[in-house]
């Protein structure tokens, strides 16, 4: 129950200001625009690069949400008040995790069509595995990101510490995401990219568990 209230709080804050979502979508679309201008390869080459370009945009956009989810709490020392609430810290981690995850999903609902439109690529025909993959990878990015964002939130320079820690940490997730997306776009059978999916699930489980167990120590003042 506490978890639902906390997630509601995260989303309500965003619904009232809409500052994170608008920033995420504008920033994502701007990067895609730059990609569209910067690369003018053949359609075949573009199809090959597209998964990598797509996931770098999503990671950059994700950092905005992940950074803001904790830095917002610094205003009026809201995080200290949150910590004094009779809620387990691990529940707090789950709320940050799922809150950022939902924001990532909403931003992608808008950014994905823009990506395929700008780069003039056909939208993958296998919609269900495509969406399933995005949900899993978003869970991975937001679990690692929420833990690290919580860890560096009180530092003066948290806006650059977060990507510095997050990018190498999510490398295996990005590799798996790019490979799986490429396989889905090429309509490869599931057996060909099952391995990548297993790695993504392992990443989500490891970071979900580690975050759940140690967020208590990280968030403590």
């Amino acid at each position: 129950m506490n978890l639902v209230i906390l997630i509601r709080k995260e989303l309500l804050l965003e619904l009232r200001s809409r500052e994170i979502l608008i920033s995420m979508i504008t920033f994502g679309a701007s990067v895609m625009l730059l990609y569209a201008f910067a690369f003018r390869p053949t359609p075949e080459a573009l199809r090959e690069f597209a998964p990598g370009l797509l996931w770098t945009v999503i990671l950059f956009v994700g950092v905005l949400a992940l950074h803001r989810s904790h830095s917002l709490e610094k205003e009026f020392d809201a995080f200290s008040l949150l910590l004094s609430a009779p809620v387990e810290r691990s529940t707090l981690f789950l709320s940050k995790w799922f809150g950022s995850f939902i924001l990532l999903v909403i931003s992608q609902v808008i950014l994905l069509p823009i990506f395929f439109l700008f780069l003039q690529l056909p939208f993958p025909s296998k919609i269900v595995p495509f969406i399933g993959l995005f949900i899993l990878v978003d869970l991975g990015i937001s679990s690692a990101g929420s833990l690290l964002s919580g860890a560096v939130m009180r530092s003066r320079v948290n806006e650059f510490l977060l990507p510095l820690l997050l990018f190498p940490m999510v490398t295996p997730l990005m590799i798996s995401a790019v490979k799986s997306t490429a396989a889905i776009m090429e309509s490869q059978p599931f057996s060909q990219w099952k391995l990548w999916l297993q790695l993504i699930v392992s990443f989500v489980i490891v970071f979900g568990l580690v975050g759940y167990l140690i967020y208590d120590y990280v968030s403590e003042e």
């Binding site: 860890a151 560096v152 530092s155 820690l165 940490m169 490398t171 295996p172 790695l199 580690v210």
Partner: protein
């Protein structure tokens, strides 16, 4: 307080490491056979692999001491974790330097996205982030907690990083896979001696670094008292 260098155990350790180090150098250059394919380039193996081994031990220690620190809040564990992270990064750098030196004549290119080399590079970058957090991020007790958390998270991520790079670049599976037990005696024992030397060097440097960190901690305690 007794100086670190005047301790009997330190002197014994330093002399042992020096003798072992020069013995390895002599064995590598004068005794071990020259590989017919790789020639002298293969000799770097006696330093490259033990560096990677030592970096692995160091990062394991960062994670374990991080866990102990979170459980006990004893500053000593933070010092062990920090000192291990520093040494782990140093040995990581040695791996990243010695790997390309060997790869250039053998693979014809200095860098290959080979899983082990790439995993070491990613760990190196993660630990640079670890030091930045300690340097610019947090202060006091919170710094120690956050460092412990990053150390644990980074180590938990190692198998996933390794597997993902391994599957990603199937064509880069060029790394030699020597079965040490099948190696001739001269190669095997020189390698084992080098491994032991690097491990002893790590322990010695860790003890020294812990001594320095302890002194720093005492000085800051005295400064606070004044």
């Amino acid at each position: 307080m007794e100086s670190f260098h005047s301790k009997f155990s330190t002197k014994v350790m330093a002399v042992t490491i020096a003798i072992a180090w020069f013995s390895v150098l002599y064995l590598v250059l004068a005794v071990t056979r020259i590989d017919p394919d790789q020639q002298m380039a293969q000799k770097i193996f006696y330093y490259h692999v033990p560096s990677a081994w030592t970096a692995g031990i160091a990062f394991l220690m960062v994670a374990v001491s991080g866990g102990y620190y979170l459980l006990t809040k004893n500053e000593k564990w933070d010092q062990v974790g920090f000192a291990s992270a520093e040494l782990g990064t140093l040995f990581c750098a040695l791996v990243l330097i010695s790997g390309p030196i060997w790869a250039k004549p053998i693979w014809g290119t200095s860098w290959s996205w080979e899983p082990r080399l790439t995993t070491v590079l990613i760990m190196f970058l993660i630990y640079i982030g670890y030091f930045l957090v300690r340097q610019f991020g947090e202060a006091g007790e919170r710094k120690r907690r956050v460092s412990a958390a990053i150390g644990i998270t980074a180590f938990a991520n190692v198998p996933i990083i390794y597997l993902s790079v391994k599957f990603w670049s199937a064509e880069a599976q060029l790394h030699p896979q020597p079965a040490m037990s099948q190696q001739p005696a001269d190669v095997f024992w020189t390698f084992m001696l080098s491994l032991l030397t690097f491990t002893l060097l790590f322990i010695h440097l860790l003890r020294y670094r812990l001594h320095v960190l302890n002194l720093q901690s005492e000085i800051s305690g005295i400064r606070n008292d004044i």
